[in-house]
């Protein structure tokens, strides 16, 4: 399978601040890829470099087979981009926005008509053609923005934080739309800081402080990190257990989930060590099992400072 | 109360320190304007380029030319070769005016007759042209009086014959320097911008960003917010006034002849009114764009055109003269010029001060009524 995107040693500095630190990766055609990371991790900057919105300080990016630096116009014909700001003209109507972007993408009248009804359908906007965009509820506006960004059926679609600030119902509808686009064969790149959305992606690239920390499919990543010293303590007294284990220096992280306490125990023979503490403090009613890590666990683990006292 | 005001004031001050553009505008605009108005701009019409078509070519005609070019008003711009070339001289802007001395000039003068000389001038700028015509008449009348006296003496009448000994005297600005006239006006103009436009925008900006709502939730009253904000612009405006006055003293020799106290008092009264206008504007506009537009339409344009800053009010069309009575700028400029240049005291400029006082009472009242009824 060929690659839709190939990035090698991409770097972007803003003054002395390194936003993206020589990252390399490739994206296979037709995949849905999620860039995951906290604010400031470098996700948006990476996307902007791939779209040609920002010039990389160094490094190279091949998008849809073209070098972004050398043939930006070729790249643009093949990509769609939607930013976190929903870049629609708020003082134009739904119809006028679609017509404008269709015109800008050079669609013929027939194509435009065809795509217009497509957008109306997928964005659930039938009957609202003549509403001003600023009067639309956020969820609709967002889907309209996506519709406008893919009017020209781009091979690659970049979505920068498309779901920030919307409720879960709308978020799910939006992901359905993404699934539909992907079904039509488009490669989709999404940035998000909602880890649960990562499960919708075929591939995940986790970023932290400008670097890629993890790259792979959700299952692959989970498999890769299956031997993390992560344990689940099932107990009737989760709060007491939590308070006890948290004090131990070798417990690098602990969290309560209902009647369970999840702990990272970075020590040899962790199970007996945990048992020891709990018994010593008079807690007998518990069961320790080895837990398989969630993506969140892995993300938290990988983005935690390597040195110093971990915070809880 | 004072602590709250102080808090707001300090916040504004810190924000302003970081807002480079506004800071640049506040410092650079007055400086730029001062330099332009002080050095570049004036109405003083001098050294008018005058060309001559002398068809007489006599001692007498040369004497007449001499009368023109010995004043500082006219500079010799060349001889026009013939009547048909006059067009070209003016069209090509080689001369602003052409003096045509007729063929029989000397004979008529010696016979003691009246002679008409022609003066053709570029009237596109009506103001300059009118002034030049005044100069021409002045030169010729003086010369005529001279000729008459000589003629009478020759005929044996030796009474003193100037007719009238005309003694013009100029008070306050004997060299009639434009800069001295424009600087007080400029202070008013700059104060208008600083005290109306900037506070209006500053309040509306907080409205746009929603921070004003936030502050209003805290136990701070709208009045305290306003006082805190306006205090900053009040201080800035005063600083700008002091700056402009000191710079114009150094560069243009503009001094304050009257009482500094009266000057300060006038400025303070004026600022109370104008700052309130700024606040008032901010209460009924919701975007910075709109606030800027309204504020500049209400301050910059009328002050520049209608307050007597540049254009004399007495020459305006009557309806517009009436409009000027509604503008605080009109009274402020008149008071400022009087105090700074003429050394006028309170009793002299009472007529300018009391409208300013009314203004400083009415506008803040309206603003605070609106604020207490509707909030921002």
């Amino acid at each position: 399978m060929s690659h839709a995107i190939e990035a090698s040693l991409l770097t972007k500095n803003f003054g002395s601040f390194i936003a993206v630190d020589s990252i390399s990766f490739a994206v296979e055609e037709g995949k849905v890829v999620g860039f995951i990371g906290a604010n400031g991790a470098g996700k948006s900057t990476t996307i902007k470099m791939l779209c040609g919105l920002t010039k990389p300080t160094s490094g190279e990016a091949i998008v849809a087979g073209f070098d972004v630096a050398k043939h930006p116009e070729k790249v643009r014909e093949n990509i769609g981009y939607m930013s976190q700001k929903f870049s629609l003209y708020s003082d134009l109507t739904v119809k006028e926005n679609i017509e404008f972007y269709g015109g800008v993408y050079g669609l013929s009248n027939i194509e435009l008509r065809d795509r217009f009804s497509w957008v109306m359908e997928v964005a659930d906007l039938k009957g609202r053609e003549n509403l001003l965009t600023r009067d639309l509820p956020l969820g609709w506006r967002q889907r309209l923005a996506l519709g406008c960004a893919v009017l020209h059926r781009p091979k690659i679609v970049f979505l920068d934080e498309p779901t920030s600030g919307v409720d879960p119902v709308i978020r799910n509808k939006f992901w359905q739309l993404i699934g539909q686009l992907s079904g039509e064969g488009a490669t989709i790149i999404v940035t998000t800081h909602h880890l649960e959305e990562a499960e919708f992606c075929e591939n995940i690239i986790m970023m932290h402080l400008g670097k890629i920390v993890v790259n792979g499919s959700p299952e692959g990543i989970r498999r890769q990190f299956s031997n993390l010293p992560l344990f689940e303590i099932e107990t009737a007294q989760p709060l007491n257990v939590f308070n006890l284990v948290e004090l131990e220096p070798w417990i690098t992280d602990a969290a309560i989930y209902g009647n369970n306490v999840h702990v990272y125990a970075e020590i040899e023979a962790p199970v007996s060590a945990i048992e020891g503490i709990l018994k010593k403090n008079g807690i007998v009613d518990f069961q320790i099992t080895k837990a398989s890590p969630t993506l969140e666990d892995i993300f938290v683990k990988e983005t935690r400072p390597k040195t110093g006292v971990p915070n809880v | 109360m004072f602590e709250n005001i102080l808090t707001i004031y300090l916040k504004e001050f810190r924000q302003l320190k970081r807002d480079r553009l506004s800071l640049a505008a506040i410092i650079l605009v007055p400086t730029l304007m001062l330099l332009l108005y002080g050095y570049a701009l004036n109405f003083d019409v001098k050294h008018v380029r005058l060309a001559v078509l002398d068809e007489s070519m006599t001692k007498e005609s040369r004497e007449l030319q001499q009368k023109f070019f010995s004043t500082e008003y006219f500079d010799f711009a060349g001889f026009v070769p013939g009547e048909s070339a006059i067009d070209k001289f003016i069209q090509d802007n080689k001369a602003k005016a052409v003096l045509v001395i007729p063929r029989d000039y000397a004979r008529e003068v010696l016979l003691g007759k009246r002679v008409d000389v022609q003066v053709l001038l570029d009237g596109a700028n009506s103001n300059t042209a009118t002034i030049i015509m005044g100069y021409v008449d002045g030169v010729l009348q003086n010369y005529s009086a001279n000729l008459t006296a000589r003629y009478m003496t020759r005929k044996g009448f030796s009474f003193a014959s100037g007719g009238i000994d005309y003694r013009p005297r100029v008070y306050y600005n004997p060299e009639l320097k434009s800069a001295k006239f424009l600087v007080p006006g400029l202070i008013g103009f700059i104060l208008m911008i600083l005290s109306i436009v900037t506070p209006a925008i500053s309040v509306v900006r907080e409205k746009e960003r929603g921070t004003l709502e936030h502050i209003s939730m805290a136990p701070t009253t709208p009045l305290e917010i306003i006082l805190g904000k306006t205090t900053l612009y009040f201080v800035l405006s005063l600083a700008a006034a002091v700056l402009v006055i000191s710079v114009s003293f150094v560069l243009f020799d503009v001094t304050v002849r009257g009482s500094v106290l009266l000057l300060a008092l006038t400025i303070v009264i004026f600022l109370i009114g104008t700052l309130s206008i700024g606040i008032l504007i901010s209460t009924f506009t919701s975007s910075q764009q709109m606030a800027f537009l309204v504020a500049s339409l209400l301050s910059i344009l009328p002050t520049f055109i209608l307050s007597g800053f540049v254009f004399p009010i007495s020459s305006m069309a009557l309806p517009l003269q009436i409009v000027t009575y509604l503008l605080p700028g009109r009274y402020f400029l008149a008071a400022l010029r009087a105090i700074m240049m003429k050394g006028s005291g309170f009793t002299d400029i009472y007529d300018q001060i009391y409208p300013l006082v009314i203004f400083a009472l009415v506008i803040p009242s309206i603003a605070s009524i609106r604020l207490s009824r509707k909030g921002f």
């Binding site: 700001k85 708020s90 800008v104 | 003691g112 022609q118 009238i164 009328p302």
Partner: protein
């Protein structure tokens, strides 16, 4: 081409929705025309004068009537104590004072030369300068009357023209009635055109930056130049409409003679619009917010350019250094063009130096602004 038209259409649609801006396009020029047409006159008339007649004879009253009968002076008070003059001048109630001394009439009858003092408030340098020259003309013509009367009394002459006298027959070209309106109203055309086109262009791009729509545009295959052109075409059309509007009002409401051809004016206006659009684009590219753009455009571009354009203050009165600076101010050339076409009937043949200068500045400004615009996108 089709893509450019899409942008043009979009701009018009947006403009139509922005009522406030739409209003400004038509209210602003009318307001400026009224203010500048009726108020912005530097002609000096109706100078308030205080008259101090210490003589109070037939002769003094005759002289005073020469002053008060003219358009230039309006008497505000008649006083008989010379010390009161100070108050009138200091309070600004009078701009000038006329003092007729005691024995004025007696001296004239006795063939002596009496003094006549005219005092001007120099704080308004322009008014008092012109006022003094009017006063001197009145005083000297009165003086001549005295001489003529005396000569007649001694049977020296038979009629007044028998004494030597040089009189100017002045004729003002281009504006024979010396109407200030003829000079100022064409200038409004320049001002309106600059303010409108520069303001809307300077907002046009920064608005898309603030709203984030510009990023969306950049990732489309729309070329930068297509985008700029698409934005400029509507503003150019608006500019032309403004020219026609102001032209109509100037000619039919203010009766300003339009001696040159409308076509010349329109073609050269187009050239100037290019310059203004270039400047607007430049401001827009270097600004981050609409607020910045408006402030920059207003205070650092339009105001200084207007002041240095010869709009109100004649360029030839400026010191040499500033005169050189005005050569860099495009408005200066357009001001000369518009006044030339209106008042002198100039055509291309007369205006080619200004046209060339405008063209060069325009080309420079446009390329600079396109360059900074593209850079601002990266």
């Amino acid at each position: 081409m089709k893509r450019i038209l899409r942008v043009v259409r979009k701009e018009f649609l947006q403009l139509r929705r922005d009522r406030r801006m739409f209003g400004m396009l038509f209210v602003a020029p009318v307001l400026q025309l009224i203010l500048l047409g009726y108020a912005a006159t530097v002609d000096v008339r109706n100078i308030p004068i205080v008259i101090c007649d210490l003589d109070n004879t037939r002769q003094s009253r005759e002289l005073i009537s020469h002053f008060t009968g003219s358009d230039y002076f309006v008497p505000v008070a008649y006083i008989y104590d010379i010390n009161e003059i100070d108050h009138y001048l200091k309070s600004g109630k009078a701009g000038m004072a006329l003092v007729v001394p005691v024995h004025f009439g007696r001296d004239i009858l006795a063939g002596k030369t009496p003094q006549l003092a005219v005092i001007a408030d120099g704080s308004d340098s322009n008014t008092s300068g012109i006022g003094l020259s009017y006063a001197s003309v009145i005083a000297l013509s009165y003086a001549r009357n005295i001489v003529v009367q005396r000569a007649e009394k001694f049977n020296l002459i038979k009629n007044p023209d028998d004494l030597p006298q040089v009189v100017a027959q002045s004729r003002a070209w281009y504006n024979p009635d010396l109407r200030s309106v003829n000079f100022m109203v064409p200038a409004v055309l320049v001002m309106v055109l600059m303010v409108i086109t520069l303001t809307i262009t300077s907002l046009a791009i920064v608005k898309e930056k603030e709203n984030g729509t510009i990023e969306q545009i950049v990732v489309t295959p729309l070329h930068d130049l297509e985008f700029i052109l698409g934005k400029m075409i509507p503003f150019t059309l608006i500019g032309i409409v403004e020219v026609l509007l102001v032209l109509f009002v100037s000619v039919y409401v203010f009766n300003v003679p339009l001696r040159g051809s409308v076509a010349t004016l329109l073609v050269l206006s187009l050239l100037f619009i290019m310059v203004a659009l270039g400047l607007g684009l430049f401001v827009s590219s270097i600004s981050k917010t609409q607020q910045q753009a408006t402030m920059t455009a207003q205070f650092f571009v339009m105001m200084p350019m207007l002041i240095l354009s010869g709009f109100i203050f004649p360029i030839e009165n400026m010191p040499k250094f500033f005169q050189y600076i005005t050569y860099l101010v495009p408005v200066r050339y357009f001001m000369e063009i518009v006044r030339g076409v209106f008042l002198k009937g100039d055509g291309f043949a007369d205006l080619w130096p200004q046209t060339l200068a405008l063209f060069l500045i325009g080309a420079g400004v446009l390329s600079l602004s396109v360059y900074t615009f593209r850079r601002s996108l990266r």
